[in-house]
Subunit: 322 residues, 2 copies
């Protein structure tokens, strides 16, 4: 542990609704150590954040001196540690540090800054993000004048339009949460079984079911509610479906294709035919989006979610004058 | 209680997944008494059905003699009391009794028949119903040569095309379940609060929010996932929303409009412009569909759900030669 404290330059933290992830970094932003916990904004009062942070990163701290800690995510929400008010779009992404706030602290070794989220009110297209803006900043850190479309798949999938490093507008889709509720809580759970918790697109039958579902729903998006019940009916009546676990996996792949496909169809003019998309997120979820985008004629590039958040927090860290 | 046993001609039962409702009827199908319980197919083993039925209707039974009991719904499912196999469409609705089954019974005073559901496999448009076919039969009992479109709103909303008293095809939408999951289990629950459990379309602001949402989603159905998150964002950012309980009610009305509107848009060619719709169900839910259909230029007629199920079970009861 001494080795970490000696080489530690700063600490990056992504503190979400339900968990926190922290990285110890050296002066060249190389990762010295990782840590985390399952305590996010939903389970913490403002007074508990410092204790929880020190429980997770305490071993990295030197006995003396001051360590910069850069935090993105829900810790900066109104219900979090201390509010870092949303920046309205359009916003430069290399400028998040400007609106960061310092929470109250007892330990003199910590110098914490909470980064703001983004909000959008133009034309009644209300939207918010908190955490994803830092991943977008990580993308811009790699390519400062980037113009294009980025997608961050997840519970609340984010689509952002970037113009010369500025976020001009963005859209959030409830895709991941919708899939999870339908797969785990609706009548469909009886048909999907445990397949919902496994990544299954390595199976050719599942890949085909996923891609077919993407095509079907993009051709007729309003049939989503009837195609959902159709999964249950197919489980009861379709004798071409495989038996056993493969059956649930096939139906789960189809549910995923319907839900991701509906999201893509809904981007409309914000996803013009043939436009490439930069995907930021974990590998298996991005695999799914690559497949869906490819079915609709879009190329995609990828940036790993952890790399993106570290690059974005690093950009903010430099902006604080480190 | 003696009065009921003396005048009792037969008993009607609608036994669903999560509850049962029973009616004591005289020879002219006048309701002598109602009873019910919260024990449906999901909480009963086959051996428990007779005991539960007698717990609910026991007081109505005469000491001697035999009472016909006509049952529709999930009691006839494979996981129910005894399976009454689905009838494939197209099916005449005055003919459900033909495929009824008799479950095993200990009490000689009971003569029980479980009615079948309907299934559809044509062209891969897999679908099933169990219980709603009896309400449709009740509609046909009133008008034997009926041709038109009927909708039964609910957890799993059913749309049926009738031609001269025959169901030719039908479609189930997961609408009610989708609304319930989003309103009670998703991130939106923080914005809707308790409004979800109250019928709120008597408020002019809520009516307007509901109708606007119906129009918006039918114009752009694929934007459903982003408009869902938009409800959350509006709660955080839209300062034109009312405060307090009225705020949750307004957002709940909008969620309902988006979800019902998506269902209507998805009917596509099965709901041709200007075609009237017969709604079967409870009053407050049908009110909502009347409003949505009216916004899209469709007239609607209504049949009360209890009247429909009693007329449908009565039709089957006569077919057994009563």
């Amino acid at each position: 542990m001494m080795a970490i404290a000696e080489r530690l330059a700063w600490i990056a933290v992504d503190w979400g609704s339900s968990n926190l992830r922290a990285w110890a970094l050296d002066t060249r932003d190389q990762v010295l150590a990782r840590a985390g916990s399952e305590r996010g904004m939903l389970s913490l009062t403002p007074a508990e954040y410092e204790t929880e942070l020190k429980r997770v990163i305490g071993e990295w701290l030197p006995a003396m001196g001051r360590v910069p800690v850069r935090v993105c995510g829900m810790a900066g929400a109104r219900q979090g540690w201390r509010e870092a008010a949303y920046l309205p779009v359009p916003t430069r992404l290399d400028d998040l540090a400007r609106a960061a706030v310092a929470p109250p602290l007892d330990d003199p070794r910590l110098e914490v800054r909470l980064l703001p989220g983004l909000c959008q009110t133009a034309g009644g297209a209300f939207d918010v993000m908190r955490g994803e803006e830092t991943q977008l900043a990580g993308l811009v850190a790699q390519e400062p004048a980037l113009t294009g479309l980025a997608c961050l798949p997840g519970t609340h999938a984010k689509w952002a339009r970037l113009e010369a490093g500025v976020v001009t507008r963005f859209t959030t889709c409830l895709t991941g949460e919708l899939y999870g509720l339908l797969a785990r809580r609706s009548v469909l759970r009886h048909s999907l079984g445990h397949a919902v918790d496994k990544d299954n697109l390595s199976d050719p039958g599942c890949r085909e079911a996923f891609v077919c579902a993407v095509r079907e729903i993009t051709a007729a998006p309003a049939t989503y509610p009837s195609r959902l019940f159709g999964l249950r009916a197919a489980d009861l009546l379709d004798d071409t479906l495989p038996q056993g676990d493969a059956r649930g996996a096939r139906l789960a792949a189809r549910l995923s294709g319907l839900t991701v496909g509906l999201e893509l169809a809904g981007m409309g003019n914000d996803l013009p035919a043939g436009e490439p998309v930069t995907l930021i997120g974990n590998e298996s979820l991005c695999d799914r989006y690559v497949l869906a985008l490819d079915a609709l004629g879009h190329e995609s590039h990828r940036l790993d979610g952890e790399a993106a958040v570290l690059a974005g927090l690093g950009l903010a860290h430099r902006a604080f004058g480190a």
